[in-house]
Symmetry: C2
Subunit: 387 residues, 2 copies
Amino acid sequence: MKITAIREVAIPLRSSLRNSAFDFSEMTTSVVAVLTDVMSGGKPVVGYAFNSTGRYACGAQMRDRLIPRIMQAAPETLLDASGSNFAPEKFLACMMQREKPGGHTERSVAVGTIEMAVWDAVAKIEDKPLHAVLFERFSQGQLAQKVPCYVGGGWYAPGKGIPQLEDEINARLAEGYTTMKIKVGGASLSDDLARLEAALRLVGGGPHLAVDANATFDRTRAMSYANALAPYALRWLEEPTDPLDFSLLAELTQTYASPLATGENLFSTQDIANLVRFGRLRSDRDILQMDIPQSYGIVQFSRTLEMLSAQGWQRASIFPHGGNLMTLAVVAGFGLGGCEAYPDVFGIFAGFNDDARVADGMIQLSDRPGIGFEGQHDLYKVMRALA
Amino acid sequence: MKITAIREVAIPLRSSLRNSAFDFSEMTTSVVAVLTDVMSGGKPVVGYAFNSTGRYACGAQMRDRLIPRIMQAAPETLLDASGSNFAPEKFLACMMQREKPGGHTERSVAVGTIEMAVWDAVAKIEDKPLHAVLFERFSQGQLAQKVPCYVGGGWYAPGKGIPQLEDEINARLAEGYTTMKIKVGGASLSDDLARLEAALRLVGGGPHLAVDANATFDRTRAMSYANALAPYALRWLEEPTDPLDFSLLAELTQTYASPLATGENLFSTQDIANLVRFGRLRSDRDILQMDIPQSYGIVQFSRTLEMLSAQGWQRASIFPHGGNLMTLAVVAGFGLGGCEAYPDVFGIFAGFNDDARVADGMIQLSDRPGIGFEGQHDLYKVMRALA
């Protein structure tokens, strides 16, 4: 059994959104198909993935280096011990040949996206949902049938005031979400506090509201937001500093008692180790948000988890970045804290299965084999065209 | 005045080298030409650069995002206050539009290479060597006519034993170099010590010999090498840890009294700030080696220097990565510690002007306008073909 081809295409997100740091008008993502010669239901099994959102498409790295390395490897070197399925950790090692240490992001997104598509194929070959395959390999106890899912929103847009924000939040609550995350930092502190208070009145208090500063604050602004937000005891304050400014983060942990959240803009196990150590994040309350397809994929994520576990961190503290089916499978399979959702945002890349249902802040898992993109019609149309 | 086009091409290095971490058999680099409508000697001024060595070509990022952003900017927004030359800091800001915080390496190499080519054009428009332009803007005192230059080598190769290493070192000493850097970590510690002792006999003692572990040691091996190397009081021990393992680096500074060197695999000002702070590097002896075209270019390097200066670091502690004319211009223009040379390595991308002369460990600067690639025949042939 072997990989017969790996194909990719860059798709524009066509999003008009902006947060406090940047807008998405040029944003693209790479959609990947890993074709195999394993037959299932009369058709070859194909694994699919995309490179999450917020980092540009990375097809050149795939075409120039990663895909040739996989296609040139002897097929049996990419199989598991039984020889009856592919071994994602061997794909990771194969792709990392001739890569210089450090400098992760130039390749971590491309590597992780291909690795994620390999997992989709692996689970389809086992004829199980990916979350079930991951649970068997990496977890213990009882596999949940639904997982916590909060909803992100509260973006800035021309003409969007508090009434429009309230409409947005009411719509999300009506859809079944119970925790909402809104943007801060794209307006003045006083305007942001007015938005926050409006949101709090609707969601029912601090534990149901997180805020996201998108890494744009300097020290002065970070401190003034932290001080102003402290009395609200929010679910979390996300990215109040540059993603790599571990000193300022450590300083904030001394003055801001409620949870801080960060990690979506770090792409290696070593960066996350530095974050928790030098950023002095508190394992009893702070939240880690690495993006798994953008950070070398699931195998490397399992190594990051081992490192974190040795430092006293619980899986419940991890809410991975990326409101998509890949993240949902990992959250369920590893028993993480929860998943994020961005319905109606990022075009065809937003959200989950078309038949996904959220109730009481929990999202139901599907039993489609693999990641289950086959249940996400508009995205699957793009994917299927590759295969 | 305006930029009329920016063109790039990926060129294979065709190198058979390997260090302890990886081999260069697939390595490529992007060559860039920034074409202007400024006439000089009857021809339009063109700025050239390449993305140094060790990181793969990055043409896709240039073509997809960076070049369109520059070409779509109103030309006057890219000029300096006088309107008579281009302003590299405005090119940097223009290219960084719509880029998400963090995740530097995916774009820092492409951004820095274009920025470096803009500086080549800026200096040609001033009709001065780039080192002279940089000295006027960023330095004080007397511009040197030659700068310290050490030579790297001592690579591992099949059939290469101590006699061949000795031949290599003798040849370098005959060429005028007085300090040599050799690889360690690609052999056993005892074999590496035998290589080191052979090298020491030729170069004349520890202050003339540096060793480079290329970031592959785990904690055990880093400690055993540090302990074994300590008695030799080498010029420096380079990359004894993963580039981002600041904890282990801090630990080494407690046990290894001679200079440590690192930084070529960090690509942002914030990463370097973390390195010196959390790695506890010692400003009185340790060496920083960022690669300037790979780290957003010269303007960002000047900001890194400001940050370092505020932490008590001297410019003499910086020996930038990349044995090429771009690095040489920055070393001379900013008055840094010195330059590295890799003659006969990395094909047409190795070395300096064809007429460059090294004597007593110092390399003479050329007075060609700009970076001076016009004096490096085989490389310039590739560059000129773009314009």
